[in-house]
Subunit: 119 residues, 2 copies
DNA sequence: GCTATACTTCGCCAAGTGACTAAATGAAAT
DNA sequence: ATTTCATTTAGTCACTTGGCGAAGTATAGC
């Protein structure tokens, strides 16, 4: 029950849902997610941690850079990911995010990070 | 997005998940759900309202009695119900609830209501 | 070792939420 | 119309949560 609730809670916040679905096109670095969501790095870090605890995303470190990707760590998490992606498929905000993620991916990572930490 | 979040939020509380899945064996009257959950009627009423708003349950009135049943009002709600039921299939608490619901169904409705409102 | 940088954790605040009691509402019985 | 009864709504309280800035941690470069 605890893991089910952790997944449901992870998916009950719009910011986190947007962060999660922004990974559909492939993994992103934290600073890229920060750029997308336009929130503080600490807030985004916390949200990604919640998604990770729920088994919805996985992360890897490359030096100072932390990358997150979609990941269904458990059957419940996999099913929840399917649910979310199908349910929000035509959602305008998600489509807009996807468009912006493409731009962000085209930017130099250092530039993105510089922007998000120095304001 | 709003309806997706409403469903996810509805499913992020253990009490509400138990209330929802208690309906798997067929509709229940509010007082029966109260008896199962051992919470105040007002609390249960509010929880059922949240589930209804999310499109996960439907209700009908029969005089003073209000009955709730599982209902997937939207594709997202139906998929979420499937997710919840599958994910929590072997869950001990849910199985225990199902056992108790059988007992509660065998009790006279007036007796159940009397019990839950007078004490 | 020191400095710079990306990220994480801590502490704070305001808003949100689950549980309760009391009051209000709707339906049934008299 | 009044009373009884099942449920709903309103208000309160303690706890939780999303967002922030500051401090802490981990990594890279010199």
């Amino acid at each position: 029950m605890k893991s089910f609730l952790a997944i449901a809670k992870a998916l009950s916040d719009e910011t986190r849902v947007r962060a999660l679905l922004s990974l559909q096109g492939g993994e992103l670095c934290l600073c890229q997610v920060v750029d997308l969501l336009r929130l503080s790095p600490s807030t985004v870090s916390k949200h990604m941690s919640v998604l990770g605890q729920a088994g919805l995303v996985a992360r890897r470190r490359e030096g100072r850079w932390i990358y997150y990707r979609l990941s269904g760590a458990t059957p419940a998490a996999r099913a929840a990911l399917r649910w979310a992606r199908r349910s929000l498929e035509g959602e305008k905000a998600i489509a807009e995010d996807a468009r912006r993620v493409c731009c962000i991916r085209g930017k130099d990572l250092n530039e993105v990070a510089n922007c998000c930490y120095k304001e």
